[in-house]
């Protein structure tokens, strides 16, 4: 492997970094549009301030915990604290060997920033901003960094041959299961039911979803850390899973509610994108269309179960849209992966390798355990100390006025 900077690859990673950064505000638009007007600012400030806080955290300590030299496969060492020793004009020796080392830090920062912020979808309209800030920092250090290390930083999951191209478990299963725990700890919103789940600004949500879709090209195809055939295949796999999952959701909304719904369309797209992430760099475009449809069905049904049957108030259904999708897609690596697509990846069942799916299941299990239990404990502790939820009157008035003294719209 040559270790010299390639301007084409570097440019791709510059862009991919920008695209993934943009996903964080886009997530804010998506979420803010889907909730009530009176709480929309509270979500926008969570994503926007989260972008600031988690970026700083990543430079100071996050990067080295995830990608520093491994302590027994569990966590990264402190060699890169405050990005000390990160090469600027050369690549790392072991990661992304054709782009500047600092580029590897920057791209992975954007991934690390958005992951905990996905959980905002579970506690939107309920949680105090101060508790949110503390939770983000703790969750990032205790859950995200270890998991990223296990999978991408040379940790034990990578050592046993587990594969997750873009972050199926590192990002989506972890945020999804964290969301389930968050929904359980925080409880239901007042008047929980269909009457309060009317989205206040659908165009805003569609703007968010569209830029999430675009950003995901960077998120997944950026994982190639280079520009070539695999990169383009990953981009197209990502796109097609989103397309098929989106259409699947629209058809399911039509079947169950009598009308094709645009909100179903955008949720389905996000489910497809989240779901395909793990497999995006290992499978063919044709497989991705099948996978997208399966992810669409699984995540749609999961909402029916979690929200409608079990009445768990995961406000924006992160547990289904990211969690369940992520599980399906990460398992799918064990079925659909072909080394002819990516020689550095595994073969799955269809390529004759029946053992990979077991390894994938181990990874999924580990991620669920770490993130569900970890999130539960972290939130319980915060709840007992400074509290998690806003007061009832603040929920009535809306978190925007009560928590931020701002309104989304005036004349």
């Amino acid at each position: 492997m040559t270790v010299t900077i390639d301007t084409g690859d570097t440019t791709w990673m510059l862009i991919a970094t920008g695209l993934v950064m943009m996903m964080t505000p886009a997530l804010g638009f998506f979420e803010a549009g889907l909730i009530r007007s009176k709480n929309s600012i509270s979500v926008l400030i969570q994503t926007f301030s989260g972008l600031g806080i988690l970026s700083i955290l990543w430079i100071v300590i996050g990067f080295t915990l995830a990608f520093g030299p491994s302590y027994n496969g569990i966590i990264g060492g402190t060699q890169y604290t405050a990005i000390e020793n990160v090469p600027i004009n050369e690549p790392f020796q072991n990661y992304a060997t054709t782009i500047p080392g600092i580029g590897f830090v920057a791209f992975n920062m954007m991934v690390a920033v958005i992951t905990p912020l996905l959980i905002t979808g579970a506690f939107a309209e309920k949680m105090k901003w101060t508790s949110f800030c503390i939770f983000m920092i703790v969750w990032s250090i205790l859950i995200y960094c270890p998991l990223a290390h296990w999978v991408w930083g040379g940790g034990w999951l990578s050592q046993i041959g587990f594969y997750d191209f873009g972050g199926g478990i590192v990002v989506h299963v972890s945020a999804g299961m964290g969301s389930l725990a968050a929904a359980l700890v925080l409880g239901r919103r007042k008047y929980f039911g269909p009457d309060i789940t009317l989205p206040h600004n659908v165009p805003l949500a569609v703007i968010g979803a569209s830029f999430l879709w675009l950003g995901w090209y960077g998120f997944n195809a950026g994982g190639a850390y280079a520009a070539g055939g695999l990169t383009f295949n990953t981009l197209l796999v990502t796109h097609m899973a989103s397309a098929t999952s989106s259409i699947t959701w629209i058809l399911l909304s039509w079947k169950t509610a009598g009308r094709p719904s645009v909100i179903a369309g955008i949720n389905g797209a996000i489910a497809g994108l989240a779901g395909v992430t793990a497999a995006s760099g290992f499978i063919t475009v044709n497989s991705s269309m099948v996978l997208g449809a399966v992810i669409g069905i699984a995540s749609f049904l999961a909402i029916k179960l979690i929200k409608e049957k079990l009445k768990i108030d995961d406000v924006l259904d992160v547990s289904s849209v990211h969690g369940v999708s992520g599980i399906v897609g990460t398992l799918a690596v064990g079925i659909l992966a072909f080394q002819s697509i990516n020689p550095n990846g595994p073969n799955g069942m269809l390529a004759g390798n029946f053992s990979q799916i077991g390894i994938q299941a181990v990874g999924i299990g580990a991620a669920i355990l770490l993130s569900f239990v970890g999130t539960f404990i972290i939130l319980k502790i915060i709840d007992k100390t400074i509290g998690l939820r806003v007061k009832e009157i603040e929920e009535d008035v809306g978190l925007d006025i009560s928590g931020h003294a701002e309104r989304a719209y005036t004349k």
Partner: protein, 118 residues
């Protein structure tokens, strides 16, 4: 004085406004509302629950005028607001009594408050 409150089609507003102007009214206040009236429900569903979601965007025009002038205003709104032969959805007008009007700028009261000029 009388308050004339009309719920009309948004499409009709611009012409209606200029006709009322020609009549010589002193002012009017417009509000975006949504309306429902009998016989127009569409049965729709929302997230699997059956609901009748049939609210149509309308505009409410409010004009306060002297008692004697009210009829002319009503006639004008009926004339301009009508679409075809008895077509549904053209709206309704309600007339009620207003005890007093005060102009904030001039502190003028009664009919003085609502007619700047003329």
């Amino acid at each position: 004085m009388k308050k004339i409150e009309a719920i009309v089609r948004p499409e009709k507003i611009s012409r209606l406004k200029s006709e009322l102007l020609k009549l010589g009214i002193g002012g009017m206040t417009l509000t975006d509302v949504s309306g429902w009236s009998k016989g127009r429900e569409l049965h729709l569903q929302w997230r699997g629950q059956k609901i009748a979601y049939d609210l149509v965007p309308k505009i409410k025009i409010e004009v306060v005028s002297s008692d004697s002038f009210a009829d002319k205003i009503v006639d004008c709104i009926v004339k301009e607001g009508k679409t075809g032969d008895g077509q549904e959805g053209d709206g309704v007008i309600f007339i009620s009594n207003v005890d007093e009007a005060i102009n904030i700028a001039t502190s003028a009261k009664g009919e003085q408050a609502i007619f700047h000029s003329s």
